[in-house]
Amino acid sequence: MDLAPYLLLAGLEGLVQASVLMLTALGLSLVFGVMRVVNVAHGEFFMAGALIAWACGAYIPGPPALGFIAGLLVAPLAVGALAWAADRTILQKIGYNPEGTIVSTIGMLYILQQGALLTFGPDARAVDAPFYYTIRTPWFGYSSYKLFTVAVAFALVAALWLLMRKSKVGLLMRATQFDRETALNFGIPVGKVYSAVFAIGAMMAAVAGVLVVPNQQAHYLMGTDPLLLSFVVVIVGGLGSIPGTIAAAVLIGLSDGLLSVFFSPTLAKIVSTLLVALVLIFKPEGLFTVKGRRA
C-alpha cells in the first residue's frame, strides 16, 4: 500500500482544521490574555457564526457566493454586538471575578445553545460552498474552497497581529494586558477596551464558524468541539501569545487529524483533554500564571 496519498490527504485536512482552529483559539487567547477571563461560551459564538452563515445562504437569493459574503460580514457583526452587550450587562457588573465570570459564561453557553435550538431547530443545516473548483493531485481531487479557508484564516491572523502591534487600539489592549491599574491611571478606558476585546474574540470565533460551515453542517451543538480544541491550543501554546497559539494550532490540528484518521476521534479527544489537564498541573509557567498575579 502506498502511504503517500493518505499522508497528503491527512496533512491537507489537518491544515484546514488547524487554520480554523487557529482563528477560534486566538479569540479565546486574546480574551484571556487581556481580560483574564475564561470564556466557556466561546464555542457557542462559533456555532452562532455558522448558523448565521446558513441563514444568509438560505434566505439571500442569488448565487451561493453572495450568501457566503453576506454571512462573512453579518455573522461577525451580529455576534460581536452580542458579545459586547454580554460584557456590558453581565461580566462588567460582576467585576470580572474569576469564579463568577466562569459561571456566567457557562450561563451564556446554555442561553446561546438553547436559543439556537429554539430559533433553528435540532436539524443539521448544510451550506453550499461559494465556489466549486477541484484541485487535481495524482491520486485524488481536493476542494479548492478548503484551501481558500486556509488562506482567509491566515490573512485574518495577520490582520489581528497588525492590529495588536501597529495600531493605537492594539497599544491600548497591550497596555491593559500588561498592567490594568497603570493603564487606568494613564486614562485608558479599560472598561471599553475590555468590551472591545470580548467582542473581537467572539468575532474571530464567528468568522471561523462561517468558514467551516460549507465543509461541515451547522448544528446547535457544534460549539463543543471547537471550544475543547481551543482550550487545548491556548493552554499548550501559551496564553496571550500569538506565535505560540499559531504553532500550537498547527500542531494540534495536524495531530488531531492524524490521530482521528488512524485511531478514533474519541481517543484523540481523550488524549487532548488529558494533555490540557496535565500541562496545567505540571507545567503551568507561562501558561496560566502571570508574574505576581494569580490567574
Binding site: I94, P98, M108, I111, I281, R294
Partner: protein
C-alpha cells in the same frame, strides 16, 4: 460517622466545654427536615413521591459538591466524574458480577473514594481558574472514556440492570427497587445519614478548618495547618459523597449511562448549590428541589428548557450570589450554616 470532637481546638476561646452538637438550632432543623420529608410520602401523589426520590438523591450529589464549593471555596466544574464513577462502579459490578445491591453500593463508594483521592492529588496542585479548567478537563476525559469503552459501559445507550439485580433482602425483608415506597424510603434513609454526617463534619473542627481555607488560605497556613491536606480532605469527602449519590442513583433506578458523567451533571450540582446557598447545610436540598421542580415544569412547555439553567446561573451570580439560604442567613438567621 465518628468524628473526634472531644479534642475541640483550644483556639475557640469561648471557654465552653467541648460539645458534640455545636449548633443546636441547626441540628434541630436538620431533624425536623428529615421528619418532614418522611411525612411527604403520606401526602403526595405517586408521581410526586418519585420526583422527591430523585430530588433526594440529587440533593446528596449537591451536598457533596457543596462540601468543596460552599465550605472550602473550591469551584469544581467536573463533579459529574465522581457521580459517574460511583454510578459505573456500582452498576457495572452489579451487571457483570451479579453482586448484591449493598455490596455494589459499597463498591461504588470505595471506587469514588479512590478516584477522587487520586484526582484531588493532581488537581489541587493548581488554584483558581486553572483548578476549574483541570477539573473540567478530567471530567471531560472521564466522560469520553465511558463512550470509548462503550462495549463495556453501553456508552450513550447505557445499560439496564437485570431484574435479579433490582432487589435485596434486609434482615429477612425483601427490598424491591421497583416499588416506589421502598425506593423513596431507601433514598431518604441514605439522604438522612449523609445529612447528619455532613452536619458533624461541617459544624465541627474539620468544617471550621475548611472555612478557614476558604476565607484566607495563607493565614491558615501560617497557623500551622498543611492546607494542601485540608483541601485534599475536602476534595475526597466531596467526591466520595458525589460518588455515593451516583451509586445510589444507578442502583435505585436500575439504569447507567454516559449522560450521567457528562458536563451537564457537573453544572447541575453547581446550579443546585448556587441557588440553595453555597456553604449552608440545607441549601443543596432546597436548591435541588426548587430547580428540579422548575425544570420539570418547563420541559413540559418547551424543548429548550435548559435555557432557564443559563438564565438562572447568570441572574443568581449577579444579584443573588449567596443563594436562598445564604441570603436568609445573612439577613436574619446567622446560625444557618
Amino acid at each position: 460517622m465518628s468524628l473526634d470532637t472531644t479534642q475541640a481546638p483550644p483556639e475557640t476561646g469561648r471557654g465552653s466545654p467541648a460539645r458534640l452538637i455545636h449548633n443546636g438550632r441547626l441540628f434541630a432543623l436538620v431533624l425536623a427536615t428529615i421528619a418532614g420529608l418522611f411525612a411527604l410520602q403520606f401526602v403526595l401523589s405517586d408521581y410526586l413521591v418519585l420526583a422527591v426520590t430523585r430530588i433526594l438523591i440529587m440533593a446528596v450529589f449537591a451536598m457533596g459538591y457543596n462540601m468543596l464549593m460552599g465550605y472550602t471555596g473550591l469551584l469544581s466544574l467536573g463533579h459529574a466524574m465522581f457521580f459517574g464513577a460511583g454510578l459505573y462502579a456500582a452498576g457495572l459490578s452489579s451487571y457483570y458480577w451479579g453482586t448484591s445491591l449493598p455490596v455494589s453500593f459499597l463498591i461504588g463508594i470505595l471506587a469514588s473514594l479512590a478516584f477522587s483521592f487520586v484526582i484531588g492529588l493532581l488537581a489541587l496542585r493548581t488554584q483558581g481558574v486553572s483548578f476549574m479548567i483541570v477539573t473540567l478537563m478530567f471530567a471531560q476525559a472521564a466522560y469520553l472514556a465511558t463512550l470509548y469503552f462503550s462495549r463495556v459501559t453501553g456508552g450513550d445507550q447505557g445499560l439496564t440492570l437485570p431484574t435479579d439485580a433490582r432487589s435485596f433482602s434486609l434482615f429477612g425483608a425483601a427490598m424491591d427497587m421497583t416499588s416506589d415506597t421502598v425506593r423513596f424510603n431507601l433514598a431518604l434513609a441514605i439522604f438522612a445519614a449523609v445529612l447528619v454526617a455532613m452536619y458533624f463534619v461541617t459544624q465541627g473542627p474539620l468544617g471550621r478548618l475548611f472555612a478557614a481555607v476558604r476565607e484566607n488560605e495563607p493565614r491558615t497556613q501560617m497557623l500551622g495547618f498543611d492546607t494542601y491536606r485540608v483541601r485534599l480532605a475536602a476534595f475526597t469527602i466531596s467526591g466520595t459523597i458525589s460518588g455515593l449519590a451516583g451509586a445510589l442513583y444507578g442502583l435505585v433506578f436500575g439504569y447507567i449511562g454516559s449522560a450521567f458523567a457528562g458536563f451537564h451533571y457537573s453544572i447541575e450540582a453547581l446550579l443546585f448549590t448556587l441557588v440553595g446557598g453555597p456553604g449552608t447545610l440545607l441549601g443543596p436540598l432546597l436548591g435541588t428541589a426548587v430547580m428540579t421542580m422548575l425544570i420539570d415544569r418547563l420541559s413540559g412547555i418547551t424543548t429548550a428548557y435548559l435555557m432557564i439553567v443559563g438564565v438562572i446561573l447568570i441572574l443568581v451570580n449577579r444579584w443573588f450570589p449567596k443563594g436562598i439560604l445564604g441570603t436568609i442567613r445573612e439577613r436574619a438567621l446567622p446560625w444557618l450554616k
